[in-house]
Symmetry: C2
Subunit: 221 residues, 2 copies
Amino acid sequence: MDNFTHIAFSDFWDNLSEEDKDTFIKKTSDLHLKKGDFVRSEREKCQGLIFIKSGALRTYLLSEDGREVTLYRLHEGDVCILSASCILDTISFDVFIDAEEDTVVQLTDMSFYGELTENNIYVRCFGYRIATERFSDVMWAMQQMLFMRIDQRLAIYLWDESVRTGSLQIKATQEEVAIAIGSAREVVSRMLKMFSDEGIVRVFRGGIEIKDRAKLHSLTL
Amino acid sequence: MDNFTHIAFSDFWDNLSEEDKDTFIKKTSDLHLKKGDFVRSEREKCQGLIFIKSGALRTYLLSEDGREVTLYRLHEGDVCILSASCILDTISFDVFIDAEEDTVVQLTDMSFYGELTENNIYVRCFGYRIATERFSDVMWAMQQMLFMRIDQRLAIYLWDESVRTGSLQIKATQEEVAIAIGSAREVVSRMLKMFSDEGIVRVFRGGIEIKDRAKLHSLTL
């Protein structure tokens, strides 16, 4: 078992019996997801505990009329707990989770993880702790959606993506940007035109290039 | 210590030492809140663990321009964990909590609860479990705000309040209703006028009376 798995599961790993450690490793396997593949949907609600080895998962709400609202993203080294939400009795809502790019995850079998959760207080606590972390992520998204100006939301998105990828070029369509910040494509288009007029960004086919980092950063504050 | 406290804290009570049980009782005292009193605000962020004996607490977001968005309400028998959020390292957001009516709470001293959380896995797990329960409440509120029609939100609010209080008369100003459903007073006014024209409700000074339960219920679906 890789080292980073021990780190991700360090809340409970040392409190597993040797037998449980062996079974954990046996019941854990890699899953290769293509961009767009579902981890959690209306049909598939409880896959198991997921650790992300590479790529990115997006968790979002989907309305009856097809509107999407991004709650948070998870990247390499993160644990996805809502893919195992049926294990935690206090989680009573539905979300969608899909792969935002080609992604490799490590999946621990649901029924084994469920047994562990029931029988081992450290595993149980780990699950609730990760869920609480996601609670913070969702509150952040909610505050952004409810209270922030659209230009600020867009600026924060561009800034964060640039920092995350270590590049001034953000490869995302305007549709994708709109989904990410919980807005409409038309609104994002208009706002990017404005940013572009001000020399903050340059829009190219399939992405956005940051031209004035200082000015962009000032918009995020 | 009252019986209902044992039930509220049953996740960990039997896993406390006799000494910790004694100290828990010593470090817990009643607090009488007047309607509008803050449990959590920008100034007072971490009071301690709260158990509600009677009354109601409201948890909400407050924007810079003074807009409020209700996240959830807690009533008799509920535990308020965000009043002790500084104890849980994964909670990184700010909310406001105030007494929606005259309320009696049982407050367990923050630093004692913090020590317990650090040293006792059962207490720690309890805190995260309650937080995850609140996560579900917030997701429910978020889905309502994002996706539901305003008439449905209003109908659900009226229905829930009626069931909760066991009365057909809901004592709340239109301002209070608007805050509760995350809308504006003008919108609520307009919608109540429509409900009233349809014989679903009658608006009186300081409240709303439900006239047609079946019709109201059909709107909540």
